[in-house]
């Protein structure tokens, strides 16, 4: 099963603190979901604004880094908290965060997940059905942002088109998640803007992710992710709570 293979890789990287050298290998070898998974689906729509279908990152990188290289523009506190998390990883006692306890991953961390995503567009909405821990992402089209909503793990996302680029603005995020799996922290002042467009003849989505948090970073910074068009893949059920092998114990993620 794809989720177990991928989860075990996640634990190894979390515990040993190194990047995954052969990303995607476990997922690509996974069995499709029953008869339906073998059925041919049509190619990605020629319409550059039609994102409907299943997309999957071709590789897993547990770190978010600025597109121009180097470390994010940390404030003193941002760097101290990141270093604390990295050191805890190296010591074999990684600091638990929300998804290790089966809570939503948060934005932008969810955007790095090595699991498929199905995008479904309906009037006024774009819904992202993430396989990983059943994250449900609701993106409201052509609505004003509202900075006064209760904070949540995935925040409040509004989007509009600029040409053929979808611009998603996410605010109202709580501070219980991280920027990435490696350990970049954020506060509830985080705001994330994704600029997503089809590239490579519609076979991939490119997302430029701009992260703003004046407490943790001295200025906004931008990272990037690619998602490949995977019409043969179906989003499968994910039951994090079943035999959660990296369940947090006393604030530390223990691999079992």
């Amino acid at each position: 099963m794809r989720r177990l293979q991928s989860v075990s890789i996640g634990i190894i990287t979390a515990v040993l603190g190194f990047g995954l050298s052969a990303p995607g290998a476990a997922q690509d070898g996974a069995k499709p979901a029953g008869a339906a998974g073998k059925k041919e689906q049509p190619a990605s729509s020629a319409d550059p604004r039609d994102f409907d279908g299943v997309w999957w990152t071709p590789g897993y990188d547990r770190k978010f880094r600025p597109v121009e290289g180097g470390l994010p523009p940390f404030t003193e506190r941002g760097r101290r908290e990141w270093q604390h998390n990295v050191d805890a990883d190296k010591a074999g006692t990684p600091v638990a965060d929300a998804p290790t306890g089966c809570l939503p991953h948060g934005i932008p961390r969810l955007l790095a997940s090595p699991y498929p995503i199905q995008i479904i567009t309906t009037p006024g909405l774009m819904t992202w059905v993430h396989e990983v821990n059943r994250n449900q992402r609701w993106i409201y089209m052509d609505q004003p942002q509202n900075l006064n909503l209760p904070k949540s793990y995935l925040g409040h996302s509004v989007a509009h088109w600029e040409g053929d680029t979808l611009v998603i603005d996410t605010a109202d995020l709580n501070d219980k998640t991280r920027i990435d799996e490696e350990g970049i922290n954020h506060t509830d002042q985080l705001r994330v803007v994704e600029r997503i467009r089809k590239v490579d003849g519609g076979t991939a989505l490119e997302s430029l992710i701009t992260i703003t948090d004046p407490v943790m970073f001295t200025k906004p910074w931008t990272t990037k992710r690619i998602y490949k068009w995977r019409p043969e893949v179906r989003v499968e059920e994910y039951a994090c709570e079943e035999n959660n092998r990296n369940a947090p114990e006393n604030g530390v993620t223990r691999a079992k």
Binding site: E81, H84, I120, T122, N146, Y153, K176, R234
Partner: protein, 241 residues
């Protein structure tokens, strides 16, 4: 319909709503884009049933072993309830969760999003029910295929594990369970689901129950429902450094 055309119309609608603080849904269309009855949008179960009865109002036809298991489970601690551990509810228990659902209706796939512990059911249209070598690995919510039969959406679900309960009271099932749901729009604002439960490992015969949903026209999307917070409190950023 070109997406550009539909987006510009939605944009106009959004301008009209700009002073409304909450995100609000557009007017409910009479028909879906493929001419089928429009069952998309937000719904809430009218009367969540904690203990399933047949449509005739009788107790489900349990076999003796299953009846014994059910009686024992009713005595047991609520901690043994898989839903208390934030596991997926299973079908049809998920239909009776007292939280909104949101249906994304497309010609090739109807996706039912459940606020309850952020679950989703992906209903693939016009595919055969998977059998034999194609049978799916067992899961909590099973694997579903669907088809329109006239104005009724018929959903076949197979591939269940035997972990879930059929209702809040602990009605059991085996991994031989299969469920057929028939979704009928009985009026623009009411959705009736007739559910046929077949499980030769648990019941003496197939039986039917019913769930009614009421449309929630003001809702667009669903709220976050982080069930696992009941089990664990994650640290905040300030607590880590």
């Amino acid at each position: 319909m070109s997406p550009h055309a539909s987006w510009s119309r939605i944009a106009l609608f959004a301008v009209a709503l700009a002073t409304v603080p909450l995100v609000q849904a557009a007017a409910v269309p009479a028909k879906a884009e493929d001419g089928k009855p429009y069952i998309g949008g937000a719904w809430l179960v009218e009367k969540p049933a904690a203990e399933l009865k047949t449509v005739e109002g009788k107790a489900p036809p349990l076999k003796p072993d299953a009846a014994a298991k059910y009686a024992k489970r009713k005595q047991a601690s609520k901690k043994e309830d898989p839903v208390a551990l934030c596991l997926p509810n299973g079908v049809p228990r998920l239909l009776n969760a007292n939280k909104p659902i949101y249906i994304l209706q497309k010609p090739k796939q109807v996706t039912v999003m459940y606020q309850e512990n952020h679950q989703a059911r992906l209903l693939y249209l016009n595919l055969p029910v998977p059998k034999g070598d194609d049978a799916p690995d067992p899961t909590y919510n099973g694997m579903s295929v669907a088809r329109w039969q006239g104005n009724t959406l018929v959903v076949d679900t197979v591939g269940f594990n035997d972990t879930t309960w059929l209702d809040d009271s602990g009605l059991p099932h085996s991994d031989q369970l299969s469920v057929v749901e028939r979704y009928d729009l009985v009026s623009p604002d009411r959705l009736r689901v007739n559910v046929t439960i077949t499980d030769p490992g648990t019941f003496t015969a197939p039986w039917q129950t019913q769930v009614m949903y009421k449309r929630q026209p003001e809702m667009l999307g669903l709220k976050e429902d982080p069930c696992a917070e009941k089990l664990w409190t994650p640290p905040t950023a300030s607590g880590a450094g």
